[in-house]
């Protein structure tokens, strides 16, 4: 798994994603809380940080986050996502060869938090890293979901004079957090 992680990290960083890894869910949450603080949205009442539903929130997770980060909202709407600074969601798989995150994104809230806010924080279990696209298609099939999203780095364009510019329509920062062990809750 470490080799896959190292490959993923190298590939994802090469396309301007930020990659972190923590042994436990609690440490990952604390990292996110520090990020919210840093971005000035930890306690802001405007719900500028939005977290879309996912298994990381099952069990004690949501309660812990609610206590520590009162500015964080779990009510993902179109308006809230358009106004938010940070969107947080959980990915189902990662592909090492290209540094790609993969998500069953049929739930519209999953897409709202990963498209509209300027910062997207993506959580994923370290054990979910696969080698390549064919391995993914063996596990996630279009018959299971209407919308599969693959994300490789932040939004980018080179349409003006071929100068690479990050963050045109989607997030300008993609922060990927791997968690080695997490409370699976009901997932």
């Amino acid at each position: 798994m470490n080799t896959l992680f190292d490959t993923f990290k190298a590939r994802a960083e090469a396309v301007s994603a930020e990659v972190h890894r923590f042994p436990t869910q609690r440490e990952a949450f604390d990292f996110i809380i520090a990020l919210l603080q840093d971005q000035g949205v930890l306690e802001s009442p405007g719900a500028e940080a939005l977290w879309a539903e996912g298994s990381f929130l099952k069990g004690a997770g949501r309660k812990y986050l609610s206590n520590e980060a009162p500015g964080l909202s779990f009510e993902v709407t179109r308006q809230a996502a358009a106004a938010a600074k940070i969107g947080i969601s959980q990915m189902d798989w990662a592909i090492a060869g290209t540094g790609t995150l993969v998500q069953d994104a049929a739930g519209v809230e999953q897409r709202l938090v990963s498209t509209l806010p300027p910062i997207h924080v993506a959580l994923v279990g370290t054990s979910r890293i696969l080698a390549d696209l064919p391995s993914l298609l063996e596990r996630l099939h279009p018959s299971q979901t209407g919308y599969i999203s693959m994300i490789t780095g932040p939004s980018r364009t080179a349409d003006i004079e071929r100068v690479l510019t990050i963050g045109v329509h989607g997030p300008e920062r993609l922060i990927i957090i791997f968690v080695d062990e997490f409370e699976r809750g009901n997932a």
Binding site: T115, P134, P142, G146, S149, S155, A158, R162, V168, G170
Partner: protein, 710 residues
């Protein structure tokens, strides 16, 4: 060629922003693409793409039905449209029925193909392109100049002006700011739109899925925020199996932009919820517009293997000079020429097909394994059949087709050229011919052609025999190259015969679409060259070698002259290019080089046909090294020199800047000697240096080897 077309080409050539941006891009692309494919077996990947797409093209109707069934089972509505009008009517009716006033679009070449925006706008519907490049050209009132980078022809200053004039005054030419400005303005459009229109990169029949890729993330917003999603999909995007997307997603980003994967890949299957929880209306339009007709054409079916990566544009020596707009409104470059001929009409390709110099760069990089140069020749042939040839061309081919007249004229020319020839070159021609010698001198016609000189050469008695096929340039301009060939082969114990009835190889006729003329040339040469029993038929001109080995057969096949194929194949089996044969003789120990001597540095220019059709790039380099020369590689050693046979006569304004770049790359090596295997390239490059004044000797490999063998 229409004068308006010629004017648009000249305008493009004189647009420094355009040629500068494209020139820099093509250099960076070469490096980026190579890096992206590290560790990937490109040939294996493209074999899989070809297999998947070719199989799909054979059953478009079946796959379209299967796709429809699958997608509709998941709540989508699938409309199969045969022509552009049906597509436009369907979308407009849908928009009206749903009171749509605002549309956002992500990039779709299919919608460009049918000019959808104008149709919707005429009905009072606001349409916004959201891909940054597409938005820029929409605001500027232009059309895309490149499939992948639609606004590559514009500078940041021009973009700032367009934004200032069309959206909000005061924009400065600062790229990050311009991008942020676009993000802000388009974000509002995404949130307000009632309908989102996309294309699709792949449509999977067995699952009813659409695969859409972008870097900007605009397609995700277009498919998420508006309450209706319409996807316009050309039926050539269909593949049968989900697994078929693997090789396409491996090649498309690597070939298009040198990325391992684009930022976003979305696989959409059926209805998904809207942001208010209601099921989103999904309409998928499978558009035919001539694709089925194309699939039924045995020659052009392969063009449906295109995955729209644009790599054929990025490696084209002509595209990087003229850009996309000269090609017309939608599809550009080599594949664009072919698609325009079909989706629009054959006549529309009349001028643009002439831009192809037949260097073969595109064929080598095409992930769909499309033989683009061959298809362009086929367009030429069909145009020649449909419209007939110009009077001037007919006159030329009437001469070429008659060996006696042709050779008599060339002999006469060696006399009549006298007022213009000096030191082996023709530097100026009068009046309308002056363009031909403006950028490079032409070689003078030799006083005595090779066919006459040959009779004076004394050869040793040998057990083995080879027939030498000189081709016109060696025969009439460079007989010394032919003499060098004979000297080398004699050393290996091979006696050379020169069948006197050989004539033009037919390449000029074939490359102009005059296949009947080419077939007659082929027939004459086959008879001449098979007359004696020889082991090899050798040529020191790669274009001639390709004619002997491949084109004679292809021409006969095209014309259905199957009765002639046997002899053509017999000749093909014996034909070899000079360097490949000599390398073989050296490896067999039949030839060896004189003891080591340091002869200085040289740089090697790969001729298009030798490298990409005959796959011989190492043999001449290795031979020259063994002879005592030290190789210094130039940048873009295998890029065309701009000669392209009669191309340099038809389009000297394009040939000249291609040559200029080649001369620059040779000079940058500081090697005093440039060697190549093609007399046509020698003619172009030597003539260029004669005008340029640089002291670089330009020679054929045979000339450099002749004195170095034991």
């Amino acid at each position: 060629m229409k004068s308006t077309f010629r004017e648009s080409v000249n305008a493009a050539l004189n647009n420094a922003n355009l040629t500068g941006a494209l020139g820099k891009f093509s250099e960076a692309y070469r490096v980026g693409r190579a890096k992206a494919y590290e560790g990937i077996d490109f040939e294996a990947v493209r074999e899989r793409i070809k297999a998947a797409k070719s199989s799909a093209a054979s059953q478009l109707d079946t796959l379209a039905e299967r796709f429809k069934q699958q997608a509709e089972a998941r709540g989508a509505k699938v409309f199969r449209a045969s022509d552009p009008a049906q597509v436009k009517d369907y979308i407009l009716a849908l928009a009206k029925a749903n009171k749509v006033t605002r549309v956002v679009k992500s990039k779709s070449m299919a919608s460009e193909e049918i000019h959808l925006n104008a149709h919707l706008e005429a009905a009072g519907i606001q349409v916004k392109e959201t891909d940054l490049g597409e938005w820029i050209i929409q605001l500027a009132g232009q059309t895309p100049s490149h499939m992948v980078m639609p606004a590559i022809h514009m500078t940041k200053e021009e973009v700032a002006d367009v934004f200032s004039n069309e959206v909000e005054s005061g924009q400065t030419p600062d790229i990050p700011r311009l991008v942020r400005f676009a993000r802000g303005k388009l974000r509002t459009e995404f949130l307000q739109a009632d309908m989102g229109i996309t294309g699709a990169n792949i449509a999977v029949a067995e699952t009813g899925s659409l695969v859409i890729i972008t870097n900007e993330g605009n397609a995700r917003l277009v498919t998420t925020l508006p309450r209706i999603h319409v996807a316009i999909v050309g039926v050539e995007k269909l593949v049968e199996h989900l697994a078929d997307i693997n090789p396409i997603l491996t090649a498309l980003p690597r070939s298009a932009t040198g990325q391992l994967l684009t930022s976003y890949v979305s696989i959409l299957t059926g209805q998904v919820p809207n942001t208010d929880g209601s099921p989103k209306e999904l309409h998928i339009i499978l558009m035919d517009n001539q694709r089925t007709a194309m699939a039924k054409d045995p020659k052009f079916k392969q063009a449906l293997q295109c995955i729209r990566c644009g790599s054929c544009l990025n490696v084209c020596p002509v595209f990087r000079l003229v850009g996309g707009h000269v090609f017309g409104k939608t599809y550009t470059g080599g594949i664009g020429t072919i698609l325009t001929a079909w989706f629009d009409e054959l006549k529309k390709s009349e001028d643009i097909q002439s831009l192809c110099i037949q260097c073969g760069n595109c064929k080598v990089v095409c992930p769909g394994m499309i033989d683009i140069p061959e298809l362009i020749l086929e367009l030429r042939r069909r145009l020649a059949v449909e419209q007939g040839q110009s009077v001037a061309q007919k006159a030329i081919f009437a001469v070429v087709n008659n060996r006696r007249i042709f050779h008599a004229m060339l002999r006469a020319a060696s006399v009549t050229q006298k007022p213009f020839a000096k030191g082996g070159f023709i530097r100026h021609l009068p009046l309308f011919l002056s363009d031909l010698t403006e950028f490079r001198s032409l070689p003078a016609i030799a006083a005595q052609p090779f066919r006459d000189r040959f009779k004076q050469i004394r050869q040793p008695e040998c057990r083995e025999k080879a027939a030498f096929y000189s081709g016109c340039l060696i025969d009439f301009s460079y007989p010394e190259m032919g003499e060098a060939v004979i000297k080398v082969l004699n050393k290996a114990g091979i006696e050379v015969v020169y069948p006197d009835r050989q004539t033009c190889c037919g390449a000029p006729a074939r490359y102009s679409g005059a296949y009947e003329v080419a077939a007659q040339n082929a027939q004459d040469n086959i008879e001449a060259l098979l007359e004696q029993d020889v082991k090899y038929v050798v040529s020191a001109c790669p274009t001639c070698t390709v004619a002997l080995k491949q084109d004679f057969i292809a021409t006969f096949e095209s014309l259905g002259l199957t009765g002639r194929l046997g002899d053509a194949r017999k000749l093909a089996a014996k034909a070899m290019d000079f360097s490949t044969l000599v390398k073989q003789l050296v490896d067999q120990g039949r030839l060896s080089f004189k003891e080591g001597k340091d002869l200085g540095r040289f740089t090697y220019h790969d001729s298009c046909h030798l490298k990409r059709t005959l796959n011989a790039s190492e043999a001449p380099r290795e031979l020259l090294r063994q002879a005592g020369y030290e190789l210094t590689e130039m940048t873009e050693c295998d890029m065309c020199c701009g000669m392209g046979g009669s191309y340099s006569l038809k389009l000297p304004e394009i040939s000249a800047p291609i040559l200029e770049r080649k001369l620059g790359n040779i000079k940058a090596t500081k090697a005093p000697l440039a060697v190549m295997d093609c007399p046509g390239c020698v003619m172009q490059i030597r003539g260029g240096f004669d005008k340029d004044g640089a002291q670089v000797k330009v020679e054929h490999t045979a000339q450099r080897l002749a004195d170095r063998l034991e």
